[in-house]
């Protein structure tokens, strides 16, 4: 077990030339033993993908260049190999799977042919032998009905299936090392559980080593033997998983844990890591984390810390670990500040602000020359929910369940097909044209992707001002300008940022600007459509804190659309779980998360990777994928995947069952 398979020493990578050259990997050393899972953990832009690509010498050309170090696979130096030698190593001894299964498969080749290509190259297998081997591989990665899938094209498979095909392709060359670059980030949580389980199973079976690259502490906890944390091109901490999770030593690792939202932190502000990752186009003469570190003292700003071995394969890059240096004691005041209680909700809370009854959004499927309607996609099919003033309702579900469509239907960005959306007693569905336009200031939206949610051709000031101009509020031009500056300060930006363009800001800053834009028109309700899922953990904490503060100050109500249950438990008052256009369970946050009654909610909760391995629940495996809303299964939509399905489930959709005054669910199990 302890025999070293891959040994990386002082690896350095440079992108570009001249003064602006970026060094995304700057002296990285680690080693992977045979059969071990080594996790490389870090936020976006810290150089973990570049490290993986440089192991295979697949850096973007001509910009990328490995400028130093050594990579030894079984004692053989890979950096000295000629390009022809690398070809047998790539896919043969080291295989790689990528984040986006959608773009990693060739859409015009059948799945079978793509795997067979790899077999022909690495095992010289052709014809029937290759076909048999491909089917065996597809079976091994858990694809049902493998002989039929052999002849299918990628678009006929779901996202989870495609990732399985990618894994089958990687296995084709019998690799000794599998590099998995964020293999489940693009997948839903139930599918993620399936894929992770598959990788772990294959690894046990084949004794293959896995280099797992991820930003998700939960995934690492479930999978890894050895963990390395990367920050700004360097490994800052390394250790066996149990030791690392029990006692992270580097301030950055500790902050990452502290920034994770969960229910136990509900009444506190989340710990944030101030600032952003420093740009990597400079030469560092100090600790790279010093600017964002609350333990930093003058030594950290003077000298770059070295690597301190604490034990075998356990080390940290921090002056705090240096036995020859006396570190100042941990400051107490800073922690107090961060754990300050969130402001109490504003007055008037509790009155109903929004009540949605039986909301339906159907999209017609049109075919033929005359666009005859042949069916409907029932994206939202009878959703009822209500949000009191000053509270947060979380709408939870996997991708494709219709939660975003429901949000847009409530805001009248999509006109619903049926139902009622009562906002302060007015049915918005009955409002038209100018009457609706005037009410629009009261309900606003924040989007998921901070990069596409602002017009790149407008300055930040114009973007924030747009709503005020359209709603004719905010007075004269100079008054509006003052208000823009106040709003920017309110969301933690500087007033002079108003004359800049969106591309000059980081993802977290842009999300703050989007919040300021929504606040500009004094809304009562904000629909937050996955506002933090495109952000790193440390930035996510900043945004969640901001949203919670604003709720306290302004008495806002949120409809928080998300797939991330840890965010829900931190932020939400009530939770509604959606499956295929309908709400299957709803209740107060502790009702749903702690006493879930619907099998889907239970499966969803069990699939979330847990940080603490001891309390890890048995994962309820859901078979298959979510069906298409154009053709939902008869009876209960969930029955084909439900472990408890009964005969009645195939016939009739269950009615809403009240489990307690604050908790409802729709399942036949609860009636019988």
């Amino acid at each position: 077990m302890t025999q070293t398979l891959l040994d990386v020493r002082n690896l350095k990578v440079r992108l570009g030339r001249g003064g602006n050259a970026v060094r995304p990997v700057d002296g990285v050393s680690f080693s992977i033993a045979r059969g071990e899972t080594f996790a490389l953990l870090g936020e976006s832009g810290c150089g973990k993908s570049m490290t993986a690509l440089s192991l295979l010498r697949l850096l973007p050309q001509p910009a990328g260049e490995i400028t130093g170090g050594s990579v030894r696979l079984d004692g053989e130096e890979l950096l000295a190999q000629p390009e022809s030698g690398m070809r047998s190593i790539r896919g043969g001894r080291i295989a790689m799977i990528f984040q986006e299964p959608q773009t990693s498969l060739n859409p015009v080749m059948t799945v079978g042919a793509q795997i067979a290509e790899s077999l022909a190259l690495h095992k010289q297998m052709f014809g029937d032998a290759a076909r048999a081997e491909v089917i065996r591989l597809l079976d091994a990665v858990g694809i049902p009905d493998a002989p039929r899938r052999y002849g299918e094209y990628p678009h006929q498979l779901s996202g989870g299936m495609k990732q399985r095909v990618m894994i089958a392709m990687a296995l084709a060359g019998d690799p000794e090392l599998l590099i998995a670059d964020e293999p489940t980030t693009a997948l839903d949580v139930t599918i993620q559980a399936q894929v992770l389980e598959l990788i772990a199973g294959l690894q046990r079976e084949r004794g293959m080593a896995v280099l797992l690259i991820t930003h998700d502490l939960g995934v690492v906890a479930g999978m890894a033997d050895q963990v390395a944390v990367m920050y700004a091109g360097q490994i800052v901490e390394q250790g066996p998983r149990d030791l690392f999770y029990a006692e992270p030593r580097h301030p950055y690792s500790r902050k990452l844990f502290a920034a994770l939202p969960d229910s136990s932190k509900r009444d506190r502000r989340l710990t944030v890591i101030p600032g952003t990752v420093p740009p990597l186009n400079q030469a560092f003469h100090a600790c790279r984390f010093a600017e964002r570190c609350d333990r930093a003292w003058d030594l950290c700003r003077r000298r770059e810390p070295g690597w301190f071995e604490l034990a075998a394969r356990r080390g940290v890059r921090c002056h705090l670990a240096d036995p020859g240096v006396e570190a100042p004691p941990e400051a107490g005041s800073g922690a107090d500040e961060e754990e300050r209680h969130v402001a109490a909700p504003a007055d008037g809370a509790g009155h109903e602000l929004l009540s949605v009854t039986d909301l339906k959004v159907h999209f017609p499927i049109q075919k033929g020359f005359f666009r005859r309607t042949v069916g409907y996609v029932r994206a939202v099919d009878g959703v009822s929910l209500s949000i009191p003033r000053g509270e947060t309702l979380a709408l939870v579900g996997e991708s494709g369940c219709g939660k975003t469509t429901a949000g847009k239907g409530i805001l009248q960005l999509l006109r619903p097909t049926g139902g009622r959306v009562c906002f302060e007693g007015t049915n918005l569905l009955e409002l038209k044209g100018e009457a609706l336009r005037r009410r629009r200031s009261e309900f606003q939206i924040i989007f998921q992707d901070p990069f596409s949610s602002m017009n790149p051709r407008m300055t930040v000031g114009d973007i924030i001002e747009e709503g005020m101009v359209a709603q004719r509020i905010g007075g004269t031009a100079s008054q509006r300008r003052e208000r823009v500056e106040r709003l920017l300060e309110q969301v933690g930006m500087r007033p002079e940022h108003r004359s800049r363009y969106p591309h000059q800001f980081s993802g977290g800053q842009r999300q703050r600007i989007c919040i300021a834009r929504a606040l500009a028109v004094d809304p009562r309700l904000i629909v937050c459509d996955e506002p933090t899922s495109a952000l790193d953990v440390s930035v996510q904490a900043q945004i969640l804190n901001l949203l919670k503060d604003l709720q306290g100050q302004l008495g806002l109500s949120y409809l928080f659309i998300t797939h991330d249950l840890s965010v829900v438990s931190y932020l939400a008052d009530r939770v509604a779980v959606m499956y295929l256009g309908r709400i299957v369970e709803e209740g107060r946050v502790d009702d749903v998360l702690d006493r879930a009654r619907h099998p889907y909610t239970q499966a969803l909760l069990s699939a979330v990777p847990a940080l603490d391995k001891d309390t890890q629940r048995e994962i309820i495996r859901l078979e298959g994928d979510m069906p298409s809303p154009a053709n939902p299964p008869a009876g209960c939509h969930f029955h084909p995947r439900c472990p408890h399905a009964m005969d009645i489930c195939r016939v009739r959709y269950p009615d809403t069952e009240a489990l307690s005054p604050t908790h409802t669910a729709r399942c036949h199990l609860l009636t019988s």
């Binding site: 910009a63 960005l413 629009r440 017009n455 051709r457 709503g467 709603q471």
Partner: protein, 468 residues
């Protein structure tokens, strides 16, 4: 005494220049527009092509300032009468080249005609000789021996003039750059000549030098020689080629000016409003695309021709008549060529309208026309710009093809297409007349090559998908 004449195309050309100038000032103040242009002028090839295009544009603009000369006063005449011929500033700069008409073909730098003629000498004997030209080399007594020396002397003079011009230009440029770089003028000059600057000024200067030399050679030589020979009716080929520059530029730019409103408004409307608006616009451009373009152009031009022939009273001069036909050709080319860009913009609008920032504007209740102008149009402009520069060279070539077929510009308008059309017969005769075709070909080739290279640079800078 002169009387300015503003032809239709002149007015539109200057309108276009005005639009470009206004846009340039607008772009200066907007970083997102300035940055890609800054990238464009950092490429050596792009700067060289820009200089070439600038010289062509200058020629075209000089040729777009028209006037009529007053006729000499007759006895008893009170009102000034103006001649029927329309001149331009370019004619004035070139001197009498346009009016120095020989009898028929003559080769470049020839002093005799290209064909033998029967003349009767003073002894009454009939002879078949190559007669001397009326203008070309007429200032020499014995051109057979003096021609080389004369051309060399004039070329040398041109070289000195060009060098002197460049010296002044380089010094002025280094003075200006000295201010921008905060260096002394001498050090700025040294840095400029080393080629050590973001904008490749050295390349620009070298290209300017080539064209300045060419201009000086033309000015010095054309007054005494037919540098590129003469055509069938004895007109100077170089003069025709230079006058054709304007025709090519007008076709290449005005067509786009006419096409753009169609393509942009219809494309954006189809993509944004969807539904029946989309259906109507799609049917419109699909139908228009299915009609063979040449057929439509031929039919329209012939109809126009008939109308102009039956209404001669509408035109004061021949030039106005020819100009209207040129404008009409631009119009009809524009109407047939908007479909491609329209389709492209519709697709892009379909994509943009679903983006979050458009949704956010909807959530604010921003009016739809404001969304179109503020959110969609600016994010489509890079496509429009790329399409315009790429279409330009295609349209210049299209003019040549259409004139060759006979449905292009008026036969009296000087254009490369007309020259190539006439060269068809010249290539077939023995001995061959090659200079007309060669002149038209090389001028057109230079323009189209420069335009293509420039459009490549513009696309690289503006297309977000090509960003490295």
């Amino acid at each position: 005494m002169i009387k300015p004449v503003i032809l239709w195309t002149d007015a539109l050309v200057f309108l276009l220049v005005g639009i470009v100038v206004v846009f340039a000032f607008y772009a200066r103040r907007h970083e997102h527009l300035r940055a890609p242009w800054r990238e464009v002028v950092r490429g050596r090839i792009a700067v060289a092509s820009l200089v070439v295009l600038a010289f062509y544009t200058l020629t075209g603009l000089l040729d777009s300032v028209h006037y009529r000369k007053a006729l000499p006063m007759q006895d008893g005449q009170v009102e000034v009468q103006y001649g029927g011929e329309v001149f331009s500033l370019l004619d004035a700069l070139l001197g009498d080249v346009g009016s120095q008409v020989e009898k028929t073909y003559s080769a470049p730098f020839a002093y005799t005609l290209y064909t033998r003629e029967t003349v009767v000498d003073e002894n009454g004997v009939q002879k078949r000789i190559f007669p001397r030209l009326k203008y070309g080399g007429a200032h020499l007594d014995d051109p057979a021996t003096q021609r080389g020396a004369d051309i060399a002397a004039r070329s040398l003079a041109a070289l000195w003039q060009a060098l002197a011009f460049m010296l002044v230009l380089t010094l002025l440029l280094s003075l200006w750059l000295a201010g921008r770089w905060r260096l002394s003028p001498a050090r700025a000059l040294r840095r400029l000549l080393r080629g050590d600057s973001d904008v490749p000024w050295r390349t620009a200067l070298f290209t300017i030098f080539l064209f300045a030399l060419l201009a000086a050679l033309i000015v010095n030589l054309a007054s005494a020689w037919h540098v590129l020979g003469t055509d069938k009716v004895g007109k100077d080929v170089l003069y025709q080629t230079l006058k054709s520059v304007r025709t090519g530029l007008v076709i290449g730019t005005l067509t786009t000016l006419i096409m753009l409103p169609f393509a942009v408004t219809l494309g954006m409307m189809a993509g944004y409003f969807r539904g029946w608006v989309d259906d109507v616009i799609q049917y419109l451009y699909t139908t228009l695309n299915s009609i063979p373009g040449v057929l439509l152009i031929a039919a329209s031009v012939l109809m126009m021709q008939v109308y102009m022939d039956t209404h001669p009273e509408l035109f004061e001069t021949m030039a106005e008549r020819a100009d209207l036909r040129l404008l009409f050709l631009c119009l009809i080319l524009g109407i047939t060529s908007w479909t491609g860009l329209c389709r492209l913009l519709r697709g892009e609008t379909l994509k943009l309208r679903e983006l979050d920032y458009v949704q956010a504007a909807n959530a604010f209740g921003v009016a739809r026309r404001v969304i179109l102008v503020r959110h969609l149009l600016p994010n489509l402009m890079h496509l429009v710009l790329i399409a315009v520069v790429i279409d330009f060279s295609g349209l210049v070539l299209a003019e040549a093809v259409l004139s060759y077929v006979g449905v292009g510009v008026d036969p009296t308008t000087m254009s490369w297409g007309n020259m190539i059309n006439r060269a068809r017969l010249e290539m077939a005769r023995e001995p061959m007349v090659w200079w007309s075709l060669l002149a038209a070909f090389s001028f057109m080739f230079t323009l189209v090559l420069a335009a293509n290279l420039f459009s490549d640079a513009v696309r690289d800078a503006f297309d977000p998908r090509l960003r490295r």
